[in-house]
Symmetry: C2
DNA sequence: CTGTTAGCGCTTTCAC
DNA sequence: GTGAAAGCGCTAACAG
């Protein structure tokens, strides 16, 4: 199918290309009603579709933004992408996605490709495990960038963060409210690395809440360095084996909580009667466990949508005051606590 | 940051734009080694990045494809997108995504936008609930399209399908092998609509396998019209309430299976000893249930990758023989059966 | 209100 | 081996 151009529409209507362009872009008062009418019917008859590539070349903008993340097949990230997509669709922007698998070189390569593609902006969802801002910095002059859940020392970047600290407090407070007093905590590797910052915040929130509530924390109540369902299982087994006295466990991730649930189940303990458990993330899994998992929701969809709105505001030169936005996490009460 | 153009590189090196273009595109024998050298260093020094939009305009291709689906935040779809993305990245293509929420108008709109953006091809992952091929047809002349898990009466389209029928057979056979003989089936609304075709195939596979194994099926063993975890729960409750004699249940979706597991658990029945259950999809959920769910995996990642490869083959005019590819589903044995 | 002209940044004949 | 010129399809002054 031969593409029909604006020029052909012009010839067909015996008008000039600029006039066609004007009615196409709804320029007010630049064409008489009859002309407008004539042009539109011609467009329909010829089956004309504007060529965005040509338009982009002259307008210097593509109406497309890029989203860089670790892995789009991760439910949490894909939820963020959906948020971005919805906001973008509303404003007439397209979304192009790229996965890094936590490799910084991939991230750098994507930035370069996006610059060459002349994307109007980029959103990064905590993409590389090992965070390095060089790429962001380097390309930040080519297009605006907004970061989601990515820690960086520089205050220069636009970012959306989650309040993991407060989320952890919510979890502990809830456990307290349902009568639990000996609250354990299972978490991952807590390193100084900014990549694991979220877990650090959750841990600190846990400690702070205990203190605030007048509960005594102790080293034996916390289990660090565990990952995934297996990790949660092992950690709980360990807690049990060591005869630690606990009536609740706050897991820093839902997957840990699921393993925990399993270990508790095998030990013949009842949830939440004997021991209550709350997770973190509100992954899809949470509403499907037995019992259903009480957890802390990370508003990733909202973050994606906000990031996109923010980006669009910047791109369209509307002032967008705060560089950093911190989104609250939210307690989702189900059955496990 | 002012973008530097190929023209500036030309002036800087005292060469012509065409020469710069030639070395940029590695045209053999179109530039002397010294020239090539000089150009590259100039490019580096000036920080030149080629403008893909301009290139796309003259080359008439954008090196970008579109993926249209119902909802990218669905784990299964996002897995497919990941497959597409990986294959595309390997061949230097970008991926732009769009959600339809099963609304045909959205699908039509996306096709139009993609045509205007001059995308080189489009992949549709069973996008609209109510399938209508008009859009595909209409735009198929603008760019090649490949369909994933989408049924259409037309044999004209390139498509990747899953063998749901055989997957169901695998499930039933497995149940048979572990000694079960009274196999129930919980499924969704089985209508004639092509949209629900997958469930029909699974149902037919179930029936066929029973027959093949010499087991007797009966109407009371199958429960139709249930959806999601709640549905699986209700259906199983119903099976129990009606005192249907069964020792296994094959659920047409993992979510149904999870509800089933819950009902069984509440009824004090042991899985898989008393009743075994197998699901379908191998969603993330499957490996996190208690007991872990035995299920049928749909190779969505592979389908995405294959669809992308196929599309690229077509776009680059390599012959790509079979229009339709049917991918086998795979039994994943865990604990529930 | 409408048309003419000149690019946007790149690739590509076709001379030299 | 290198350069000049034309043009991809569209928009944006600027005239008329």
């Amino acid at each position: 199918m031969k593409r029909v151009t604006i020029r052909e529409v012009a010839e067909y209507t015996k008008l000039s290309p600029s006039t066609i362009s004007n009615v196409l872009n709804g320029k007010q008062g630049k064409a008489s009603p009859e002309t407008v009418q004539k042009v539109w019917t011609a467009i329909k008859e010829l089956g004309f579709e504007p060529n965005f590539v040509a338009r982009s070349l002259v307008l210097q903008r593509t109406n497309t933004i890029g989203v860089i993340m670790r892995d789009i097949s991760s439910p949490l990230y894909s939820l963020g992408v959906r948020g971005v997509e919805d906001a973008c669709a509303q404003h007439g922007y397209g979304v192009i996605v790229g996965n890094t698998d936590a490799q910084m070189e991939r991230e750098a390569a994507l930035f370069q490709i996006y610059a060459r593609k002349q994307l109007d902006g980029v959103i990064v969802i905590s993409a590389s495990g090992q965070v390095k801002d060089d790429h962001v910095c380097k390309w930040n002059s080519a297009f605006p960038v907004v970061l989601i859940n990515r820690y960086s020392d520089s205050a220069e970047f636009n970012k959306i963060l989650f309040d993991h600290y407060h989320g952890a407090c919510l979890a502990v407070e809830h456990l307290f409210k349902v009568g639990k007093r000996k609250i354990a905590h299972i978490t991952g590797e807590i390193a100084a690395s900014t990549a694991r910052k979220a877990l650090v915040e959750r841990y600190e929130g846990y400690q702070a809440a205990l203190a605030y509530l007048g509960l005594e924390g102790s080293a034996e109540l916390v289990r660090r360095g565990y990952m995934g369902q297996e990790g949660g299982y092992e950690a709980t087994k360990d807690l049990l084996a060591q005869k630690v006295d606990f009536d609740a466990v706050f897991c820093a991730e839902d997957t840990l909580a699921i393993g925990c649930l399993r270990a508790l189940f095998e030990a013949g303990l009842r949830v939440p009667t004997d021991v209550a458990v709350v997770g973190f993330d509100d992954s899809l899994l949470a509403s499907h466990t037995i019992p259903r998992l009480t957890t802390i929701r990370i508003p990733m969809y909202e973050a994606g949508a906000m990031a996109a709105e923010k980006l669009i505001n910047i791109m369209e030169n509307r002032d967008d005051s705060p560089k950093t936005v911190v989104l609250p996490c939210e307690l989702v009460v189900r059955e496990s606590a």
